[in-house]
Amino acid sequence: MSKCYQDEYEAGYTPRLVMEEASRCLLCLDAPCSSSCPAGTDPAKFIRSVRFKNFKGAAETVRINNVLGAICARVCPTERYCQQGCSRSGIDKPIDIGRIQRYITDFEEATKMDILEVEKPNGKKVAVIGSGPAGLTSAAYLAQKGYAVTIYEKDAKAGGYLRNGIPEYRLPNAVVDKEINRIVKLGVDINLNTRVGEDVKLADLKKENDAVIVAIGASKGKSFEMFEHNRKVKIAVDFLKQVKARKGNVKLPKNVLVIGGGDVAMDVVTTLKLLGVENVSDVVYEEFKEFRASKKELQSAQEQGVSIIDGYAPVSCRGGTVKFKHRVIPADLKIKADLIILAIGQVTDPAGIDLEFERGEVKSKSYRVGESNVFYAGDIAHGEKTVVYAVRTGKEAAISVDKYLGGK
């Protein structure tokens, strides 16, 4: 196992290992894995293809069902999705579906397969706002259907949290680049450094296009008032973005305090450790039994020697010192650190995009906003806030657009 920020934490399979893992698959009758993949990637089918030596066919299954297959393979919390109901658990443990999928997509890349096809142009235009997984997926789907698709992205690079959030050791930017290239090759235009609401108006996009899909995600990190205007405090997603963009070349102090207990917090603490920070303490509001982070990430954080303290809420902050109170028992905690990183959640920044939100999600029952030609997908849609859900809602929103515009 590698222990460096720039290297993938988990090694890929060799042909022999992927065959061994695929041979553990029981090829069972009703394949719970396939029915529980939010994006419909159909693991039962691609694992079977591996088992019967049809690697190229496996790659086709993954890619056609999930345009971000290589990314999902690396970042999906599979224990919650495809692997959860695995029949093999009746014997020992579930099939490592993510890793098989990674082998397949690496194989696809290595053999330069060109799987996706584009139907002939249908003369219709769609604008997509945001180039995170949701925006990319809907763009890819519509481009394949023959639409002229343009993505507007406020950042200098495409990918949303794939590029800025999920750390390099879990999702290398090289992988993100390749996935985006495949989508660009379908004819999708990406306008970078273009914030809708500022550089272009949503109203204009609505007029110039047959439909608009809003996929702006939740790109702003939350803070509490007690942490405002404090030079020692950083926001988790800003910190992760900076580290990833600089390929890990950042200067960090010796003692860092992280507040928060979700996956983002786990990424922050592991990143800090991989970058050589000596003391990393993570204070978490939830108690262990209610922990939100995925097991895999909690485990890798613990392997790195992070001190995780559960059940405490921050009550005050002055300079580098934060005081906490336990939520249940009468206990106080005071930690002094050189740097404080807040990983307490992300919110949408809808400035200039006049949609009605309710608890971070667009208020609407379908993927369409009222009777307008505006649709939405990803973290701002109902459902779980994961990449694979963004793929799902991206696909479903695109299907709604296609139907709305008269597609079959």
Partner: protein, 423 residues
């Protein structure tokens, strides 16, 4: 996306793809064959239909599997005879299948005990709408010696029964050979001379695959006893390929139309049969273990293989390997290839050293300090056993040297395996 046409003409009938159910329980009734067609099989060889007077009475249980380490099904043994359903039911199923699946190929398998049986059965299945017929000369566990593999190992009976069938049908038909014979060419030639249009091979191999150590009886146990019976599955593929090559190599059979059977599970297996001269492929054990769905990966994998090989027509691959299988005495024996060890891949398990010492020529030496092997060329004979046992594929064919006193030649031009590794 890569798309290739897998259709191929075999014995004058066009198949949408070469993959067929072989005659066995996998094609026992209408519903099964219908599901197989829906799953994408190009054709079905219906379970062997026998004469009305031959009553089938099967044992229970009737199967056993040969295992190796964690692999549950290396080979498969069955004690089944021919169709259990009545002649009328079978004919009705054939009729319905042809009606509802007109574009997929329906093959009736028949077996008689005398000329009259063969004539009657051929006529009945022709009338029922079969596209072609397979004559089962090869079931090794029939309870009658007038039927089954005793017929297939007797060229004169093969000829006689083929002639009988020829008299009563215009349909193309093939004779299904038994591997329980030294030379399959004799019955195959006799069958073609008798009027058969093609050959299918192989049926199952007579076997005992396990013995219960407490009860001291072979498996499966039928009321304390067992019997020798047919072996199939992956383990029999090498035997099938060998018989097919021998037939294709025989001057009288070199253009024979052959349907290959025996251990086909993957597109790679299928491609091997095609390269050795088969235009049609049949499967049973793979389906019994995994279901009809295996055809999806066989078809798609074969399409990709065609793409990699740059062919648009499956026919172009048929028999390409036949000419490269030559008598052992004609092989080039002038050189040795030494193993080359990839030190980056080697994990230091020493399996190559053990196998070389105990099973080869004590050439692979072991450095105790570094825990790495080194090949001593003075002792190495280039058998490359080491490469087969290496668990990480670290050993491949390396340096080539001419044996003493051989005519010099350009050894760089030798065609060798790219890798010895077996997955």
């Amino acid at each position: 996306m890569v798309r290739k046409d897998l259709s191929i003409t075999f014995m004058g009938v066009k198949f949408p793809n070469p993959f067929c159910l072989s005659s066995s329980p996998v094609g026992n009734c209408y519903d099964m064959c219908a599901k197989a067609y829906e799953s994408g099989w190009g054709g079905v060889v219906f379970k062997t239909i026998g004469p009305k007077h031959y009553l089938i009475d099967e044992v229970s249980p009737r199967f056993d599997a040969l295992t190796k380490e964690a692999e549950p099904f290396v080979g498969f043994k069955n004690m089944e005879q021919i169709a259990e359903h009545s002649l009328e039911e079978n004919l009705a199923d054939l009729r319905r299948l042809k009606k509802n699946y007109p574009s997929q190929v329906l093959i009736a398998s028949i077996m008689g005990s005398n000329e009259e049986d063969w004539e009657v059965l051929a006529k009945l299945v022709t009338e029922a709408g079969a596209d072609m017929i397979e004559l089962n000369f090869s079931c090794p566990q029939m309870t009658s010696h007038a039927m089954g593999s005793d017929v297939g190992s007797n060229p004169e009976l093969c000829r006689k029964y083929c002639a009988a069938v020829r008299r009563s049908t215009k349909l193309p038909f093939m004779a299904k050979m038994t591997p329980n014979i030294t030379d399959m060419c004799d019955p195959a030639i006799a069958s073609l001379e008798g009027g058969a249009d093609g050959i299918s091979a192989i049926n199952t191999i007579k076997s005992i695959i396990n013995v219960d150590l407490d009860k001291k009886v072979g498996l499966p146990i039928i009321d304390g006893k067992s019997a020798i019976s047919g072996y199939s599955g992956k383990a029999v593929k090498p035997v099938a390929l060998r018989f097919i090559q021998q037939m294709r190599n025989h001057p009288k059979l070199k253009d024979a139309e052959i349907s290959g059977i025996g251990g086909i599970e993957t597109w790679e297996d299928a491609a091997e049969f095609i390269l050795l001269g088969c235009k049609n492929l049949q499967v049973t054990t793979g389906i019994m273990q995994y279901g009809y769905r295996i055809v999806e990966d066989m078809k798609r994998g074969l399409e990709h293989y065609m793409d990699e090989q740059g062919v648009d027509c499956l026919e172009d691959l048929v028999g390409l390997a036949n000419k490269n299988l030559i008598p052992a005495e004609e092989l080039n024996r002038d050189y040795i290839v030494y193993p080359e060890i990839d030190t980056n891949k080697c994990i230091g398990c020493g399996r190559c050293v053990i196998s070389c010492y105990d099973g080869a020529h004590q050439a692979m030496e072991w450095n105790k300090e570094t825990r790495r092997p080194n090949c001593n060329h003075d002792k190495c004979v280039g058998c490359l056993l080491c490469g087969l046992v290496c668990p990480v594929g670290a050993i491949k064919p390396g340096e080539r040297v001419l044996k003493a006193n051989r005519k010099p030649r350009n050894l760089a031009k030798l065609v060798l395996q790219d890798s010895i590794e077996k997955l």
